[in-house]
Symmetry: C3
Subunit: 161 residues, 3 copies
């Protein structure tokens, strides 16, 4: 008789506000019922983890600095639809607060307390010229695809693009 | 010897026309070869399930009513690319009909007949101020993340964003 | 004791440049550590596999020819964000080259050498009026959902949308 595998790995490729909320809601929801949860942030998703919440010229190299500025930080996450020059993420947060639903910073905090492992993608960090120091302290590891797959073995993997 | 698990859970986060077609094609295709299939609609994906197919000010609260109007209903699903002020979903449906491929309403109907379980996300309903009465009758359950994970255990999970 | 399953199936629905890079990075990364990898390209994802790398009126039928022209080929893949009339994919490739990270054509080549199986979706080919001859030679099979699920059984499935 096979033992149950309760392990969820989320690849968060998106840096959209609504998708970040979905990623953390799933992560915390799973961790709350005792699933092992890894969230692997790559490319646009790294915006969610940047220490500098606003737009900054960070990273090594001219192109990455320019690109990181355009990407912005966690305060600049757009909505994937109906974005209206950045009004909508605030609108959505307003609706969430009104309904007593946890907002994104609260979701990140609860993920941390529930031992959700937040991981950054080594290659994306490299392309974007980012270092560990550019990310929030909650990020414990920077790993590549093989290690991520090792962590995810026999669990379920979700890709949020 | 492990018994085969043939269970597919689809999280449909997207409300784009082309992705809805993909979600239902996968769901019906899997159900047709005897997989157990759950489709969990959340956020934008709830548009696909709205009873009112056009734009309506539904939901409780001013912001949700406004937001639901902008989101539209199943007749307003945009194409994720090349949308051209809404022409393309019709264009794609035209191509599908021409090739005798099932259109979205036909795919929903066949999913129903193949016992695909259509489920709405409790938290997204709450944020958007929607109730069971706003959704089509095919939706049998409104559940949260823990129940969804329970349903999906030992199966495969796909996230369509 | 269950034997480990090391099988990854990727559904590449997206035709965005950044997501194609993610799909092939995951595919090659997994294959390099001896996972069995299938990548199933559908709808917009078929652009990545088109033999004609530029915009061409290919496919059977007026609408599909028009639609394929608009979709473009592998040289027209847009970035999912910050696309700026097509400048960004080149910008991203520039950053990748600078960091000695494999570019998309290199990733496709290495996937091939690592025995990643590239598969095209039968129904999407049919809707878009494409035939095997329109795709690069690396594509070995054109299959439907049931066969894809059979290939993916007991592995992990990722949907890149």
């Amino acid at each position: 008789m096979a033992t149950e595998t309760k392990k969820l790995s989320i690849i968060c490729f998106s840096g959209d506000f609504d998708k970040a909320v979905a990623a953390f809601t799933l992560a915390s929801g799973a961790a709350a019922v005792n699933w092992e949860v890894n969230v692997f942030f790559t490319f646009w998703g790294l915006n969610i983890l940047k220490k500098q919440q606003g737009r900054r010229f960070i990273g090594k190299g001219v192109l990455p600095r320019f690109f990181n500025f355009l990407m912005g930080g966690s305060r600049n996450l757009p909505l994937s639809r109906l974005n209206f020059v950045g009004i909508s993420p605030g609108l959505m947060t307003g609706m969430m607060k009104k309904r007593n639903v946890a907002t994104l910073p609260e979701l990140i905090e609860s993920a941390k307390q529930l031992n959700v492992k937040l991981i950054a993608c080594e290659m994306a960090m490299h392309i974007l010229g980012l270092t560990k120091a550019d990310l929030i302290d909650e990020v414990k590891e920077i790993i590549g695809v093989p290690t991520f797959l090792e962590y995810s073995k026999n669990g379920q993997i979700i890709f949020i693009s």
